[in-house]
């Protein structure tokens, strides 16, 4: 991606390529143990066990979804009771128009629970992974485009407190990186 800002000299970080998922996995363990914080691995598919290798915990997206689900159930119940019992009681099929109408309200309650949980999943996911974001320094790297095809890449940002221009590069080479590319902002 040709971007005029790529000509600036401020370093964003290093992109290092590894040979396979297995190599990247072990490299990630070493970077984790070296105490880096602002780094990531970029792979064409989610690599099983990588969260552990990177020292990341469980995703808490599920908590956001639970919130969405509860909102959905309550919305549906309030909507149905308010319109069916208070506002406009329709007497059909000899069904009651009071608290005991609840069995008839289950299907819509269920559907709205699912619907709002799904909305919460999407909104929660995008807020956690900070997307959409169409512009990112990594898109300046020609090597980076391989990560959506068959590249196994490790990226260390220059903002990391442990980052040292030369030493980090040496470390990457030491843990088995093939190509190492500097990426500028």
């Amino acid at each position: 991606m040709s971007n005029p800002s790529s000509s600036s000299n401020e370093l964003f970080g290093y992109v290092a390529e590894f040979e396979s998922a297995s190599h990247l996995y072990h490299a990630a363990e070493k970077i984790r143990d070296a105490g880096f914080r602002r780094w990531d691995v970029h792979t064409p598919y989610p690599v099983h066990g990588m969260d552990h290798a990177m020292g990341l915990g469980k995703s808490w997206l599920s908590a956001i979804v639970l919130g969405g689900g509860i909102t959905g159930s309550l919305t549906a119940l309030v909507m149905q009771f308010f319109t069916q019992v208070t506002l406009y009681p329709t007497v059909v099929q000899d069904k009651p128009t009071n608290l005991f109408t609840i069995p008839a309200f289950f299907p819509v309650t269920f559907e709205l629970t699912i619907l709002l949980s799904a909305f919460a999943t999407v909104i929660g996911l995008f807020s956690l992974i900070l997307l959409p974001r169409w512009n990112h320094p990594l898109f300046n790297s020609p090597l980076f485009a391989k990560s959506t095809n068959d590249g196994f890449l490790l990226v260390i940002e220059a903002r990391d407190p442990k980052f040292k221009r030369e030493k980090t590069k040496e470390l990457l080479a030491e843990i088995g990186a093939g190509k190492i590319e500097e990426v500028n902002y």
Binding site: A21, A28, H42, P46, H48, D51, A104, A118, N149
Partner: protein
């Protein structure tokens, strides 16, 4: 113990002797090959046959538009329905299309939760099929209400008449179920597409790069994104699983909660769900067998995949057969004269017995051939049988809906229903729309979930021991 762990280290569990499974991707294909092959379908010119299918599909779609304009401008009287059969082809087609959608969700959600890795080769196309089928389904009840422009009355919106919807009615449940199903399916499908759109973005040039890039939302495939992404995918699968079961259950409530003999049965929800999955898998195979052949995807959608789907068709077809027979038994065992009569007329003396036997043969007898392995591996055989199923599942809905209405309680109310040309054109047109949208999907989006297929290769496991040997095998295979 030491020996044992050494033996384990040398051979990956998936390849160990005695437990080795057929690989999901044949011929030792590499990650790059998978990307090239699947993206190639989108990036290269379409084969002639694509156009040969696309042009008639568009014509079919125009027929659909014409029949709808004719219907709205003239009135619902142009359909063949009248007293006593007020639900005809329109509702038959609605249930038919919505049922087809269910296989897509089964593959994408239920098989995901049950860790069936073979689903990755077929889930994208099946989910697309789901969305398109639900769109086709939505047309029918939408226009069945008579005044299409009043459809917004189905939504609980305050209006000047002070009237509110009847939330105790299964028809309103259906509105919520189907619209939720469509929305959640779109979300699930799109979330699954994001990494693949990023692949197309990184390969593309010019406008294609911009457009795919826009919809890829700037996906970078970092593990800090993947871990939330995987959780989102799992949650959506967990939400879709009960959802898909609920949708066809609610569709069956439209019938089961009424008092019409032939409809008023408790077996309907599971029976409808099994039938939906059965019919949907038949449609998946109908679409995927030609796609696989045309675009050279035999290494990704293998004989094993087709074998598995044929087995699911056999299982669900047999469940459906059980439900048919159980319906007959319950009508006899209930000792209810109307029930017994309804089924007597359905299978022996009524005007529609031919439809019952067409249904029974196509849905119960024809799939039994899948007990034999040779039939599951003979693609022509599979194609013929699944088309029997497509046909039979339409007949199932026809047998349930109009034939029950044509013979209800009083002989004075009996009638005979056959569809008018407008209904036939509309149904044919909905197939045109279905094919048109599916062909456009093949043209513009990856038919196979690229990132998911890559994740089921043997070396996708970071603990795969012998990746060097695998690399060598790949080099040989590439030659």
């Amino acid at each position: 113990m030491a020996n044992l762990s050494k033996a384990n280290a040398a051979v990956h569990p998936s390849e160990a002797e005695g437990v080795a499974r057929e690989p999901l991707v044949l011929n030792h294909r590499s990650l790059g090959w998978i990307t090239d092959r699947i993206c190639g379908i989108v990036e290269n010119r379409q084969p002639l046959i694509w156009w040969v299918l696309f042009v008639p599909s568009v014509c079919g779609f125009l027929c659909l538009l014409f029949s709808l304009v004719y219907l709205v401008s003239t009135g619902v009287g142009v359909w063949g329905m009248n007293h006593p059969v007020a639900w005809g082809w329109d509702i038959v087609n609605f249930v038919f299309w919505i049922g087809i959608g269910h296989a897509g969700t089964l593959i994408s959600a239920i098989l995901f939760l049950t860790r069936q890795k073979w689903r990755t080769s077929v889930n994208r196309a099946s989910e697309a099929m789901t969305l398109i089928a639900v769109m086709c389904a939505g047309i029918f009840p939408g226009f069945h209400v008579g005044r299409f422009w009043m459809v917004w009355f189905l939504a609980p919106i305050p209006n000047s008449n002070g009237i509110w919807q009847n939330f105790k009615s299964p028809l309103l449940w259906d509105v919520f179920a189907v619209s939720t199903y469509f929305t959640v399916s779109v979300i699930f499908w799109y979330i699954g597409l994001i990494p693949d759109l990023a692949t197309l973005r990184d390969r593309g040039k010019g406008l294609a790069k911009k457009l795919y890039g826009f919809f890829a939302l700037g996906w970078r495939g970092g593990n800090r994104q993947w871990r939330h992404y995987e959780m989102a995918y799992l949650i959506l699968a967990a939400l879709s699983t009960p959802l898909v079961l609920s949708v066809h259950s609610v569709v069956s409530f439209d019938f089961a909660t009424s008092v019409v003999p032939g409809w008023h049965t408790t077996i309907f929800p599971p029976y409808f769900v099994a039938g939906a999955i059965f019919g949907g898998f038949a449609m998946v195979l109908t679409l995927m067998l030609p796609v696989r052949k045309l675009y050279g995807l035999e290494d990704l959608i293998t004989a094993k995949h087709i074998d598995n789907m044929a087995k699911i068709i056999l299982l669900t077809g047999t469940i459906v057969g059980y439900a048919y027979i159980m319906e007959l038994f319950i009508s006899y065992y209930s000792a209810n004269a109307f029930e017994t009569d309804a089924f007597h007329m359905r299978i022996l003396s009524g005007p529609y017995t031919w439809a019952y036997y067409a249904m029974f043969f196509c849905n119960v007898i024809a799939p039994q051939v899948f007990w034999f392995k040779w039939s599951r591996h003979n693609l022509w055989m599979v194609f013929i049988v699944v088309n029997f199923v497509n046909f039979g599942m339409w007949f199932e809905r026809f047998v349930i809906i109009p034939t029950s209405l044509a013979r209800d309680f009083l002989p004075g109310q009996w009638g005979y229903y056959s569809a008018s040309w407008v209904e036939k054109l509309l149904f044919g047109g909905s197939f045109g729309m279905f094919m048109m949208l599916f062909l456009l999907f093949i043209r513009f989006l990856p038919v196979i979930a690229i990132s998911e297929v890559k994740g089921v290769l043997p070396d996708s496991d970071p603990h795969y021991p012998d990746w060097k040997r695998l690399k060598e095998k790949r080099r040989v295979a590439a030659k």
